[in-house]
Every structure is written in C-alpha cells, then in structure tokens.
C-alpha cells in the first residue's frame, strides 16, 4: 500500500525547547492512524508541522510522495490535506452552511472579474458550493442546522461542522486534532463509527486523541509520543502492551483505559 503521509526525522524547536524530536511516521493510504501521548507530548505541534502551520527545524514531510516540507498551509491544503483544530476554529459568526461553503475555496476559481460579471464560472461555483455544501451537511446529519450561527451550536456539533468543512476540500487525508474532546461516551462512540464510515469511503484519517477507548477502538495503527519523541508505533495490541508506553502514562488510570479499550475493540 502506498504511503499517504510520511514524516522523516521531524524536529521542531521553539527557542531552547525541543517540542518535537526526530519523529518518523508513516501513514498508509486508506488507514486510520492515531497519535497519542500525554499532555505536552508534542502531538499538536507535530500536526502543525505536517499541515504547514510550522516549518520544521529539521526533517522532511512527504505527502502522497511529494515533499511538502516548508510549504505554507494553503498550498498543502490545496494538495489535499484538510485538518481540524484542537480548540475548534470555526468562523463563529457565520452560519453552518457559510462555514462549509468556504471549504470549497480550493474547488472553485471565481475571481473579481467573474464575480462582477456574474459569469458562468461564478454561477457554477456558487451552485457547487451551495449544493455540495448541503450534501456534506446532510451526510454529517447537520442539514437542519444549515442557517444556524456556528457559535450557537453545542460543542459536539461544532466539532462535526468543523469536520464537515474539512470534508468540503475533498481531501486525500483528514487530520483531526482531538475530535472527541468534550464528548460524552455515547457521542464518542458515534464519532468513532462516523470516522470508520468516512474511512470506508476512502478517506485516510489521522487522529490525535486522549480518549484511549476511542483510539484503541478506531485506529489501525498508533504512534505514541512523549516529550516530543516517538516511543512506540504499531497496532493497538502492540502499543497496549509496550512497557515504555505504560510507563509514560503514570498511574492506573492509563492501564484501566487500555484494558477497557481492549475489551471494547475486540482485536484490531
């Protein structure tokens, strides 16, 4: 299987602090990949390097075989990488549909001239954004909220809107940063099912998550970071039993979580 997203020796320093330290990662096309680690392990920073928000201090990123190291986020998005953010970056004063419509920017091309003249390109672009936007919302189950102001939605639904907006890019890979944060167990189960459904439709997905049950039950492969370094990578089984991983998460809370996850996942 082809490698969709590959990180080679990625390091990111902020002044004296090494937030990410020589991390290698390979995400296979069509898989669901999880990134876990204690708070402050550098997961979001790593995502930020992958999506172009940060330039890596050293190392390289390859996306679908192409070196994208140092490219700005808008170029990487254009190449087919979409992401959501840890603290939800929705356009809170726009409606849900307006948020999703902006996701179609890459797939449309109306410029100032076409806009002024209401040319055919303009009309086609507007139709595309409106129709496909509504489609995505319907698939995600949010069609009823299309005219609701984004900030008026409950947190869990806001996350879904952010995912819907990311889907509007028709991406090759979806990077989700803590999508289950703030969700109760039943919502988390729904999210896991939703992600698997998306994956079945062909999207490669990378997820940062804290919720062990979720990660063990959803992901094909998992990368574990601690203090910016990779300490383990493999199937959920493999990661679950790794001594260093267990050590990284102090306290029985982690072990219970892994045990519970093993019960729920029933082998991956």
């Amino acid at each position: 299987m082809a490698t969709m997203l590959e990180a080679r020796g990625i390091s990111k320093c902020f002044g004296g602090l090494k937030a990410v330290d020589s991390v290698d990662m390979g995400i296979e096309d069509g898989s669901i990949f999880g990134i876990i680690g204690p708070n402050g392990a550098g997961k979001t920073t790593f995502f930020n390097v992958c999506s172009g928000v940060y330039k890596p201090t050293s190392g390289s990123i390859l996306f679908a075989g192409r070196d994208i190291t140092g490219l700005p986020p808008e170029s990487i998005a254009r190449l087919g990488m979409a992401r959501t953010f840890q603290n939800i970056k929705l356009f809170k004063y726009m409606t849900v549909l307006e948020n999703v419509k902006i996701g179609f920017h890459i797939r449309t091309s109306t410029g100032v001239a076409s806009a002024i003249l209401h040319s055919r390109r303009y009309r086609e672009d507007e139709d595309l954004a409106a129709e496909k936007g509504l489609d995505i919302l319907t698939q995600v189950g949010l069609a009823g909220y299309k005219d609701t102001l984004a900030s008026n939605l409950p947190y869990g639904l806001q996350r879904m809107v952010e995912i819907a907006r990311a889907l509007a890019l028709d991406p090759k890979i979806l990077l989700l940063d803590e999508p289950a944060a703030g969700m109760n167990p039943s919502e988390t189960r729904d999210l896991s099912a939703f992600i698997k459904k998306l994956n079945a439709r062909g999207y490669t997905i990378a997820v940062i998550e804290h919720d062990m049950k979720f990660v063990m039950g959803t992901c094909d492969r998992i990368l574990v970071l601690n203090f910016g370094k990779k300490i383990c990578e493999g199937s959920p089984e493999f990661v679950r039993n790794d001594a260093e991983v267990n050590e990284a998460y102090f306290g029985k809370g982690m072990r219970d979580g892994i045990a519970a996850g093993a019960g729920a996942a029933g082998g991956v």
Binding site: A77, Y93, I106
Partner: protein, 346 residues
C-alpha cells in the same frame, strides 16, 4: 434545540418591501437636483457622495478583510493628483483620466500592501499611516510634477459631448453614477468566492489558510480594490474642486474618512453610507462652530468604541463586534474543555 433558520440578529425586511424602498430611494436621489437645486444643497450632496465612495472603499479593506488601514487619504491623494496632472499637463479627457487615476491608486495600493502582509494589526496600521504621509510629503515637495505647495490649479471640467459639466447639480449625477457603480460592483464581489475569502481572513486567518485560502494574495487584492475606488473618488473630485493641494490629503483627512467608517459601521454596505451622511451632516450643523467639529467626531468615535465597536449599522455578526477577547466559548464548552483535559486518561 436550535433547528431550522435562525435569525442572525438582523431585522429582515421582506423582499418586495426592500425593492420598493430601493426604488423610492433611487427616485428621490435622481430627482434631487430638480427638487433642491440650490448650489449649497447640491454641494453638500456631492461631498456626501464623495465620502460615500471614500468611506465605502475603506470599509472594504477594514470591514471586510479585517485589515487595519488608517492611511486611506494617500490613495485618495494619488487619484486626485493623477487626474489633475493628466488633465492639465497632457490634456486628457476626464473620462480617460478617471480610470487611469484609479489604476494608479490601485498600483500604489499594491505597493503599500506588500510589506504589510506579514505584519500584525497595529503595525500594519502604522505602516499605512506612514505610507499616507510619505505620499502627501512627496506631493508637497515634488514641485516639478505636483506643483509643490502651490498644488495644481485650473483643473478642466469634464465634457460630455460638447456639454461642459460645471454646476454642482451636474456633477451630482456623475458622482451618483460612480457611487451606484461602486455599490453594484462591490456587492457582487462580496457575495462571491472572493468576498467569502476576505471574510474568512477577517474572522480567522489561520483557519482560512488551512482551508486553502491564499491569504496574502487576497489581502493584497483587497487593498488594491479599496485603493482603486479611493483613487476614483479623488479623480472624480479633482475637477469639481478645480484646485488641489497636498494639505487636502493630510492624516486628518484620513482620520475623517476613518471616523465615517467607525461611526457608521464596518463590514456592511450601508455602514459607510450612514457614516458619511452623519459626519457630513454634523459638519454642516457645526459650521458656525467649526473648531468643535473634530471634537464632535472624536467623542463619537470614542463613544462608538465603548458601546458598539462595529459601528451603528456595522456587521454585528462578525469579529468586529467582539468587545472581549476570548469570549469565544460559552460556559458549556469551557466545562467540556476542562473535562477533556482531566478525563482523557481514565
């Protein structure tokens, strides 16, 4: 549970009512020179229309893309001087000089935009201020081109097929047409992919970039668009004033235009119109005590920032209306956050 259409806080007029009001407004505007032909009234209306263009174009920059431009007088200056020079030195017709002047202002807009693309809000504002002053000082000192402190006199009036436009009442129609054109064009651009890109930059630039919006390109284009129309305003008014000099384009004038946008409203099409009307109305009302004019504007600006930062009829559903940083999440979400960070490893 919120379901279908949500009223986003704006009073929604029904479509037929809207059309009727617009038609009425248009009829009044067109008939105005016949109803009130006094040159004083026409003069005020002409000034209001000029400021509608200036404030409107500034609003496209500040209100729609969220960039902080306080040096709009510079683009206005370029447009006016360009038309004046082309008309007096090269004898070009007004109708040719007008778009050329707009183009010149647009190019200057691009030049000013370039360095600001990496700068944050306040620093961007200072650069625009500096650029505006440099433009004015160049106009003041480049005697050969701009007449230096003497300015340019005797700017020829536009000719419309043998008919010389000379009365305020005649100029009024030109300005009205330009303002109408500005609104028509701007409304179309704002309602398109381009406008959406601008709005996304205003609301959350890093989210916009992650969605593929080429923010640098769109910010520059936005500046150029605003500069173009400011140049058009300057060029259209040069023959009306008949004489221009650099002190007409000082920082004070820039603040004048800014206050119209602040008071009237940012991020909506009507905001700058309301602002232009209010500020010019105040100017006329305060004529007997004109030294207090700026005092009045200053107080209005401060009050507006205290009470309604987006302006009287500005975009209430936008980041412009935010008065507290980080009033992002409601209580429920914040609690969920806390839960997420503590309860992850259970």
């Amino acid at each position: 549970m919120t379901g279908a259409s949500e009223d986003s806080g704006r009073a929604r007029l029904s479509k037929p009512l809207k059309i009727a009001l617009c038609a009425l407004g248009a009829a009044v505007l067109l008939a105005l020179p016949a109803i009130c032909p006094q040159s004083y009234t026409m003069g005020v209306m002409c000034r209001i229309l000029m400021y509608v263009l200036l404030a409107g174009s500034l609003n496209v920059i500040n209100g729609y893309s969220g960039q902080f431009n306080i040096g709009h007088a510079g683009f206005y200056c370029i447009g006016a001087y360009c038309e004046a020079i082309l008309a007096t030195r090269l004898g070009l017709s007004f109708w040719i000089a007008l778009p050329l002047a707009g183009l010149a202002a647009m190019i200057v807009g691009f030049i000013v935009a370039l360095p600001t693309l990496r700068l944050r809000g306040t620093y961007l504002a200072i650069v625009t201020l500096g650029a505006s002053e440099i433009i004015r000082l160049v106009a003041l000192n480049w005697e050969g081109l701009t007449g230096g402190p003497d300015g340019i006199k005797g700017i020829p009036a536009p000719m419309l097929g043998g008919f010389k436009i000379s009365r305020s009442g005649d100029y009024y129609y030109i300005f009205l047409a330009l303002a109408a054109l500005f609104f028509f064009v701007t409304a179309r651009v704002i309602g398109s992919r381009v406008g959406r890109a601008w709005l996304s930059i205003r609301e959350d630039e890093s989210a916009a970039r992650s969605l593929g919006v080429e923010t640098s390109r769109y910010k520059a284009a936005n500046f150029m668009y605003g500069a173009f129309w400011a140049g058009i305003a300057g060029a259209a008014f040069a023959p009306y004033f008949k004489y221009i000099s650099s002190d007409m384009f000082s920082l004070d004038e820039g603040f004048n235009i800014l206050s119209m946008v602040i008071i009237g409203g940012q991020g909506t099409l009507v905001g700058p119109v309301v602002g232009a009307v209010i500020v010019n109305f105040l100017t006329e009302v305060l004529r007997p005590v004109s030294q207090y004019r700026l005092v009045a504007y200053a107080i209005l600006i401060i009050v507006m920032m205290w009470v309604r930062p987006q302006g009287l009829v500005g975009a209430s559903n936008s980041i412009l209306a935010e008065r507290k940083l980080g009033r992002r999440r409601r209580g429920a979400a914040r609690a969920a956050d806390r839960e997420a960070s503590c309860g992850g490893a259970k």
